[in-house]
Subunit: 203 residues, 2 copies
DNA sequence: GCGTTAGTGGAGTGCGCGCTCCAATAATGA
DNA sequence: TCATTATTGGAGCGCGCACTCCACTAACGC
């Protein structure tokens, strides 16, 4: 028996290909990102590529799963805090910061373009679910603490926070004048106003 | 001299293909929407398709241009009104209503996936410009009338209205629980709060 | 050393696609 | 009616792509 799989080696190579794939997908879109281009970017042959990923779609799925895992991981960082509204704004700010990597908005667009593939749709749904499971409990705690409006359900508020985050990402990708650094604070302020609702005017 | 081009016939056929293209692009994305599928949907042969559009991309551009023209047309409808904030909210509400056609969000996603094509990027930029030229003057009038916050430039406020609209569209496309009918009013209310800013709390 | 197997590159393949081409038809003016 | 030309369908072509195959090397246990 010789040459057993070294998980470290294997994972490192996978990540190298994922990184190259993220770059190429972001700048050329799904159909523009040929496997040949990804291999060139990663400095490998096509044989190596398909040794690690059965199909091009599998690479996209792997990137999405890494993103979802990252979301879940970040969620744990806020465990134990007692300011629910603060947590929500921090989470939203963190997502905004993610958009600072210029590849993220491009990749999101590329993935949106192939959402008709069932596997991709499922992965995005899983990602969306992870986001909700992260947000909703904090929204509920915020409502219980009187920090967050109660005229909307927690799920609906979470959806609207996702709306702000998605719109922000899209805007950064589209509008050169719209930068993460310049608009991040306004995002948080707008989200805060939304979380509070119009109570400020009626109380 | 015989058989001169009949502009009415010509335009009607073009619109028929545009309509079929919108349907197929929305449900299958750009790469999934083969010209053969579009022809089948439209009930025509491929020869006819390429008689009206030189390339598949040209069809996408034609759809985008129709959308931009529609935006400009709608802008004219508000000419003469004296309630700038009301106009802005009506415009935003109108965009939300557009999302009620289930093909629109799907098409937007499909187009986002091929934004790396220079021609598509240019068309989207033109569309964005049309939106701005529609919004910015009303924002400025609203600021002059004291209806709209003045701590942000008119251009920035317009960008944020576009952010809300884009996020709304994406959310409708993604989340089955997020419907136009159910969320339209909240969109307008959120936009109103944003336009006013936090003056309500400080005045 | 030797045997074994993971890892690697790259030539090659098959297929699905956008698009071309052309014969046939329909609609007009004369 | 005839001549002319826009319009139409569909057979098929060429190309670029995802993916296969295989020869080869590198790394490990013994």
């Amino acid at each position: 028996m010789a040459r057993p799989v070294d998980p470290r080696r294997h994972e490192a190579r996978r990540l190298q290909i994922v990184d190259a794939g993220l770059t190429v997908l972001a700048e050329r879109g799904y159909e523009g990102a040929t496997t040949a281009a990804i291999c060139r970017e990663a400095g490998i042959g096509s044989g190596t590529f398909f040794h690690y990923f059965a199909t091009k779609t599998d690479l996209v799925l792997a990137i999405l799963e890494l993103g979802t895992a990252d979301t879940v991981e970040k969620a744990a960082a806020h465990e134990g805090r007692t300011d629910p509204a603060g947590v929500l704004l921090d989470v939203l700010g963190g997502w905004a910061d993610d958009a600072a990597d210029p590849r993220i908005p491009g990749f999101v667009r590329a993935v949106a373009g192939v959402m008709h593939l069932p596997a991709v749709a499922a992965a995005l749904e899983a990602d969306d679910l992870a986001q909700r499971e992260l947000l909703v409990p904090w929204v509920e705690r915020g409502q219980a603490a009187g920090e967050v409006r109660t005229d909307l359900s927690a799920a609906r508020i979470a959806a609207w926070l996702a709306l702000l985050s998605g719109g922000f990402l899209e805007r950064v990708a589209t509008d050169p004048a719209f930068t993460v650094d310049g608009e991040r604070d306004l995002l948080v302020a707008t989200a805060r106003a939304f979380l509070v609702g119009d109570r400020a005017a009626t109380e």
